[in-house]
Amino acid sequence: MRRLGPLVLEPDPAPPPARVLGVSLLALAGAVAAAGVVFAAYGADPLYAYAVIVRGTFAGLREISEVVRRTIPLLLCGVGLALAFRAQFWNIGAEGQLLAGAVGATAVALFVPLPGPWVLVAMFAAGFATGALWGLLPTLLRLRLSVNEVLTTLMMNYIALYAVAWLIHGPWKGATQFGFAYTDTFPEAARLPLLAGTRVHWPTLAVGLALAAALAFLLARTRLGFEVRVLGQNPVAGRYAGIDPARTLLAVMVLSAGAAGLAGVGEVAGVHHKLLDPGQVSLGYGYAAIVVAWLARGSPLAAVLTATLLGAIFTSGDVLKVALQMPFRVTDVFNGLILFFLIGSERLLAVRIRWAPPAATVRVGSGLPGTPEAGGES
């Protein structure tokens, strides 16, 4: 127990939901304030910058629909990561799994002749499968050889990135693209429908929301979810309970990496209609999704909210670029700051802060000369 002026800080390992929310909001506020310093350093008045952001991001249907468009990949990657984090599997590889999914979908769109409506279904299936496959190797390495998954999933991102670059410069380079490093444009049947008047590819959004609900149900109400929670919170008890960690982790990672793969399908089929430079397929959604999952504290439903928040931040990058001539990558700074403050505030979760002016707690200082002592007779 420590005091800070009139406040008493006490350890409390079980934070109530209100404190989790409060600390998360506090961390967000800290990140916003710190980003303001970055804006100021860039020569922009932070308050003006924030006003521009709010206006440019939420002003009307067009702006809000842009937020939603950015939210879709963040949501799909984020719910997957939330599930993996619940199993204490630190999947940092959503970016690579997203790219793998994009490659899978592109392969179907360009090279598999299918009757009209089946093309998109097959693309989603292929994207899920290739994403899952990309997540499988680190999982197997962890299970068989205890290789740290943080490193392997992270490195798999770079393999995916260069694989996509090789594909678009090499074998899949489009014959009709005037030498640009793109694949050919997808046929009409391989493009996702948009909500009227917007650029929101709604089927992917529907898949994302359904997946969030499904994973929340999985965690709360199914055997697999029970096993995931036991293993994540106490692997020793999981062994004792007879839970097969390999089977559980494989299931978790197929879902987690597969979800990221679906995000990749949405980007190529809904936005670009071709496979192109990996930095354009994903603006770092896979990395930002780590913040989504962390901020949601592993809850797939909360990830819907946190993905929207991060989606707004990505959109604000466009606004800042246009209105204040800042580089779009300022969003990375923003995301980084949020994650930094979130992880930094983690310790606050385990502390209960109580208002107790010193007068009421004389006994805390006992042992000092002159303070009363229990049972002291000397």
Binding site: R221, Q233, N234, A237, G367
Partner: protein
């Protein structure tokens, strides 16, 4: 109930001329509260130069809390500490060291990749930036010869055995100038033949004018090494007295507060068929060294077999092999007539083996999950809790309510996280889960460790009831009294083999004790 004995008021002012030697250290009316418990309630204790002062008490009596206060890891809520006649305030281990207090903790704090000398030098203020351990090396050798603490200062920690780690911890304290050495259950990490060596070190230190506080719950250690003994019970001092001439029975009475009920009422065993059989079992420990070396053991239905032995003779490995948590490298295990050697934990559980694990908090429950979820932790995959891929939470909650009532688990609700429960209630939860399905075999590892007397008795009665209903029980315990009170037969394990199996009539404390140390009896 227990008469006033010597040493009742050790906090009589330290300045007064004491009849013998003035105390080097006095703890006066130390009180330490944690949420919901008073871990130390006005504890007073004095320690003189040249004495070994044993601090005796059951698990949970407040011994470790007291020494943590002394070492500055906790701040007392009330009371004071007097060293050498001066009142001191110890806010951190650094303060404690400055007062000449050294501590050898139960779990050693050593850097495994560093050498002995580097570990000893770590944190010493006067050592140089380069090769800080150089000067310390000489000192280690010097102190080592003086007290019989031989340790190679250049050896790396990971190369050394637990008893050598303990020596390094003692050296750390001595190099820092400790005159008062606190040892927290020091023999728990030692093989029996190593205990004598430790005691020899303590005797030499005592002869040199050091004071030693020796925490234990083992009576024979008090007899072997202590000059005086203070008994703690539920956070309070029961008495302090000279160790010579105190009978074990008196000490036990003080520790537990009343006569231990040595024999619970029960019918004679009427064993029927085979429950659990191990044949020529071999297995390795975590370090890959053989832990079980051809072990044979049979438990029949309707009897309790007590497995007695000093910790580290293969008990843990045996329990893990029997319950599917460790691979047997050779040999066979049969449960209720079915071969289950090296089957998974789930398969062995389903075959009818209940397992009350040794480490109830880290293995037995998931502390962050609810009481209800923990009550089905090992059965969630079967009906009625599971329906296809789904869990039926209505059935889980119904079952939990029944268990909470039947096993008197004190919890606010079935949805309370387990970490809010006390140790005794966590154990009741585990027993409810493991025993509710009427298993044919029960493997119970230290089922009452750290529990108070009433919880212990509750658990003993439950085990006896299951025995009468025809279960075969393997009771692993370091507490010989527990084994003698419950077991129909006593198997003594020594170095990975069963040294002997005695019937309850033959199993006297002396005979079992000799077998535990490897001597034929």
């Amino acid at each position: 109930m227990i008469g006033v004995t010597a040493g009742q008021s050790p906090h009589a002012s330290p300045e007064a001329g004491a009849p013998e030697s003035a105390p080097l250290l006095a703890l006066c009316a130390i009180t330490k509260r944690f949420p919901g418990v008073v871990a130390n309630d006005r504890v007073s204790l004095d320690v003189r130069a040249g004495e070994v002062h044993a601090l005796l008490g059951e698990n949970g009596a407040g011994k470790t809390t007291l020494v943590n206060v002394l070492y500055g890891l906790y701040q007392p809520d009330a009371g004071e500490i007097v060293v050498d006649g001066r009142r001191v305030r110890i806010r951190s281990p650094r303060d404690a060291i400055a007062c000449g207090i050294g501590m050898v903790p139960q779990h050693f704090l050593l850097v495994r990749r560093h050498t002995v000398a580097e570990n000893v030098a770590l944190g010493l203020p006067q050592e140089g930036f380069l090769r800080p351990a150089r000067r310390v090396e000489r000192r280690i050798v010097e102190l080592g010869t003086r007290y019989g603490l031989a340790a190679d200062p250049r050896a790396r920690i990971w190369e050394l055995s637990p008893s050598e780690h303990q020596r390094v911890e003692i050296l750390k304290a001595l190099v820092r100038g400790a005159r008062i050495l606190v040892l927290d259950e020091p023999t728990s990490v030692l093989a029996p033949q190593e205990v004598g060596g430790l005691f020899e070190v303590l005797r030499r230190m005592k002869g040199d004018g050091h004071a030693v506080i020796f925490i234990t719950h083992k009576l024979d250690e008090v007899e072997a090494i202590a000059d005086r003994v203070t008994v703690l019970r539920r956070g309070r001092v029961v008495a302090t007295m000279p160790a010579a001439g105190v009978s074990r029975r008196t000490l036990v009475q003080m520790m537990v507060g009343r006569d231990v009920q040595f024999v619970l009422p029960r019918a004679p065993a009427a064993p029927t068929g085979e429950a659990l059989t191990a044949e020529a079992l071999e297995a390795d420990n975590d370090r890959g060294a053989p832990a079980l070396r051809g072990l044979d053991l049979a438990v029949r239905r309707g009897e309790i077999v007590g497995l007695a032995g000093i910790a580290g003779n293969g008990q843990r490995e045996l329990v893990e092999v029997l319950t599917g948590l460790r691979r047997a490298t050779r040999g066979r295990v049969r449960v209720l007539g079915r071969e289950v050697t090296n089957r998974t934990a789930a398969a062995i559980c389903d075959a009818g083996v209940a397992h009350i694990p040794e480490d109830r908090v880290h293995m037995g429950v998931v502390a962050t999950m609810t009481v209800a979820e923990n009550l089905v932790l090992r059965r969630y995959r079967h009906p009625p809790f599971s329906r296809g891929p789904l869990l039926d939470y209505a059935a889980v909650t119904r079952f939990a309510r029944e268990m909470i009532a039947a096993y008197e688990i004190a919890t606010p609700a079935a949805t309370t996280p387990v970490r809010a429960l006390s140790g005794g209630n966590i154990q009741r939860l585990i027993l409810a889960r493991e025993l509710a399905a009427r298993p044919g075999v029960i493997v119970a590892a230290h089922p009452t460790y750290g529990l108070d007397v009433s919880a212990t008795e509750h658990i003993h009665r439950l085990l006896l009831r299951r025995r009468e209903e025809g279960a075969g029980v393997l009771l692993v315990s370091e507490d010989l009294d527990e084994i003698l009170a419950l077991a129909d037969r006593v198997a003594v394990i020594f170095r990975g083999r069963i040294a002997a199996v005695l019937s309850v009539g033959e199993a006297t404390r002396e005979r079992v004790g000799l077998l535990m140390t490897g001597q034929a009896a």
